[in-house]
């Protein structure tokens, strides 16, 4: 891998401030909130776009039109929904446990937003290149069921309790195959860092993406990610026909909005992580170095650096939203599974399959170290 893509905004910013006479510590401190704010805004805008896409694509799949009056093509509809929730009364049921009831949605949302820490949009376009990267995400996503269980239990409502228990059972069952699928990728790229995982896939463009070497792992990861996000066909915790709205039943106003936001941020995050793990992250189907070679440009040229950075963001978002589209299409294609089927599928099918996949990856890595990251 050529270390050519060295567009580094952070060093540029800090050196600019240091030139202005600030110490390196202060300039670093001034830099820190910028990417965090940017990623937070990106996550929320990503959710708004996803909600709009969900409504429009759902409408199209059912031969309807969908929202069309709030903004052009109804693009402002999610914003209007969010504003409505913001202004609604925040109700805590009389017999509920107030502290746990308020803490639940926070515990659901915070880990999801925190996980954006490790999502790379380019070689240096991520908040923090944590060494344990993808493992951090798996660890953070394990916090979520605690929040779900907490809100389900504290609502003092049978539907909420059942929904919370289902959510916890589902998250725990699908965490393991998910982690095993990630482990196979990690084994191939010899690193837990998301940047290294993408770099390892960028040698030959589309041909070197992990999806060709890990097709089974890709499917397992995607299925488990859908289950973790509680998307159909795995939306049992909030199955309205059985459980009203599951653990969300008693929530209204901003606390409900936090659940809503959390589930959609989680969907976008899962799509981004599938992109990073299996679809080459920010990589263009043809490597940028090759493209630059065709046009006779140096990869270190500033124009090309900016172009590569922009292309990286566009490619990451494009791939992620393709996956979001598939998730929405799946929602209208497959029926909801039963709770016993769900657990059977997780423990008796995905888990053995993920283990076999992991062992096969290990064996293939020993046999063909050139292709499977020796």
């Amino acid at each position: 891998m050529a270390p050519a893509l060295n567009l580094d905004l952070e060093s540029g910013f800090t050196s600019l401030l240091e030139a202005a006479g600030l110490s390196s510590g202060v300039s670093h401190l001034l830099w820190l909130p910028l990417p965090m704010l940017l990623v937070l805004v990106a996550a929320v805008v990503g959710v708004l776009v996803t909600v709009w896409l969900e409504r429009k694509i759902s409408a199209a799949a059912q031969q309807r039109i969908g929202p069309e009056y709030a903004g052009a093509l109804g693009i402002l509809q999610p914003m209007a929904d969010g504003l409505k929730l913001l202004f609604k009364e925040d109700i805590i049921p009389a017999r509920a446990d107030g502290l746990l009831f308020s803490l639940g949605p926070v515990l659901v949302v915070v880990p999801v937003i925190l996980s954006w820490l490790i999502v790379p949009f380019g070689q240096h376009l991520l908040i923090s290149n944590v060494g344990v990267g993808i493992f951090l995400w798996i660890a953070l996503s394990s916090i979520q069921p605690i929040g779900l269980l907490m809100s389900g239990y504290s609502s003092n409502n049978k539907y909420s309790l059942l929904g919370g228990l289902r959510a916890a059972a589902q998250s725990i069952s699908y965490e393991i195959p998910l982690a095993l699928a990630v482990l196979a990728v990690v084994m191939m790229s010899n690193s837990l860092s998301t940047v290294d995982i993408v770099d390892q896939q960028s040698a030959a463009g589309i041909l070197s993406w992990n999806i060709w070497r890990q097709p089974v792992g890709f499917l397992i990861f995607w299925i488990c990610a859908l289950a973790e996000c509680e998307r159909l066909p795995f939306d049992l915790p909030e199955a309205e026909e059985e459980l009203v709205a599951g653990y969300q039943t008693e929530y209204s106003g901003m606390k409900f909005a936090l659940f809503y936001l959390g589930s959609y941020i989680n969907l976008v995050l899962s799509a981004l992580l599938v992109t990073v793990l299996y679809l080459g992250g920010w990589g263009f189907p043809i490597p940028v170095e090759t493209l630059a070679g065709w046009f006779g440009l140096s990869v270190d040229a500033p124009v090309l650096q900016v172009f590569t950075g922009a292309l990286g963001i566009v490619m990451t978002v494009l791939k992620a939203y393709l996956l979001v589209f598939i998730a929405i299409l799946l929602r209208w294609t497959v029926p909801r599974v039963r709770i016993d089927q769900l657990l059977d599928f997780g423990w008796k099918f995905l888990l053995p399959l993920a283990l076999v996949n992991l062992l096969a990856t290990a064996a293939l890595k020993l046999l063909f170290p050139a292709f499977f990251g020796g």
Binding site: A61, Q63, R64, I65, L329, L330, T333, V334, F349
Partner: protein
């Protein structure tokens, strides 16, 4: 497992091993079939994305109710003879016929007539049995009110004619699927004078009388 019968050839595997392999094979085949079905379903959903919406954009667009539509009941006070047949044929004796006997003329004198559309099931029995045809069904169906008591229509309210969808300038009137010309599936922009598919009852009647004459 245990030792098999002595007749078995030395190369043969114990049956349970084949059983296990068969199980694995069946399981794999089931998984493949299931994923094929999901892909097939996805293609169906995907195909729907390019189809035209079938929804009617109410209240800007409205469907023209069919000829035999059983909407709000219209009532003509002057035709009514206060016979109360409508009350007798009504499943819940709903119409209220308020009349007094005029001793001088020895005739019924109708004072008020009302139907509560909050309780009416629009079965049309009263319309069917009215001897003087003073009751009829209209195409009006937008009866929403803020108070259920305003659904109790008296003879004045019952005598009002509904606004026709086709004559309302604020509404784009759309024909229902069966009233569209042959081969047309989208009601938007179909000229009003284009005839519907098939024959109208009067056309059928005309052709019948023609064949009888010949």
């Amino acid at each position: 497992m245990g030792p098999g019968p002595s007749k078995r050839l030395p190369l043969e595997f114990p049956p349970t091993m084949f059983g296990f392999l068969k199980q694995v094979g069946d399981y794999t085949r089931d998984a493949v079939v299931a994923s094929q079905n999901i892909v097939q379903g996805l293609s169906v959903t995907f195909d729907h994305l390019r189809r035209r919406p079938v929804t009617v954009q109410y209240p800007y667009e409205k469907l023209i109710p069919s000829e035999r539509y059983r909407g709000r009941i219209h009532y003509e006070f002057d035709k009514c003879i206060a016979c109360e047949v409508c009350v007798r044929v009504c499943p819940i004796n709903l119409p209220v016929v308020d009349w007094v006997m005029n001793k001088a003329t020895k005739k019924k004198e109708l004072r008020n007539y009302s139907i509560d559309f909050g309780a009416c099931i629009f079965c049309g029995n009263c319309v069917e049995y009215c001897p003087t045809n003073c009751l009829s069904m209209t195409e009006e169906y937008e009866l929403a009110t803020f108070d259920r008591h305003s659904l109790n229509y008296d003879n004045v309210a019952l005598g009002r004619l509904p606004t026709s969808v086709t004559s309302d300038p604020a509404v784009i009137a759309l024909r229902e699927l069966v009233y569209l010309p042959k081969g047309v599936l989208d009601p938007h922009g179909v000229p009003a004078d284009r005839p519907r598919a098939g024959q109208l009852p009067e056309e059928v009647l005309a052709s019948l009388t023609k064949t009888e004459e010949s």
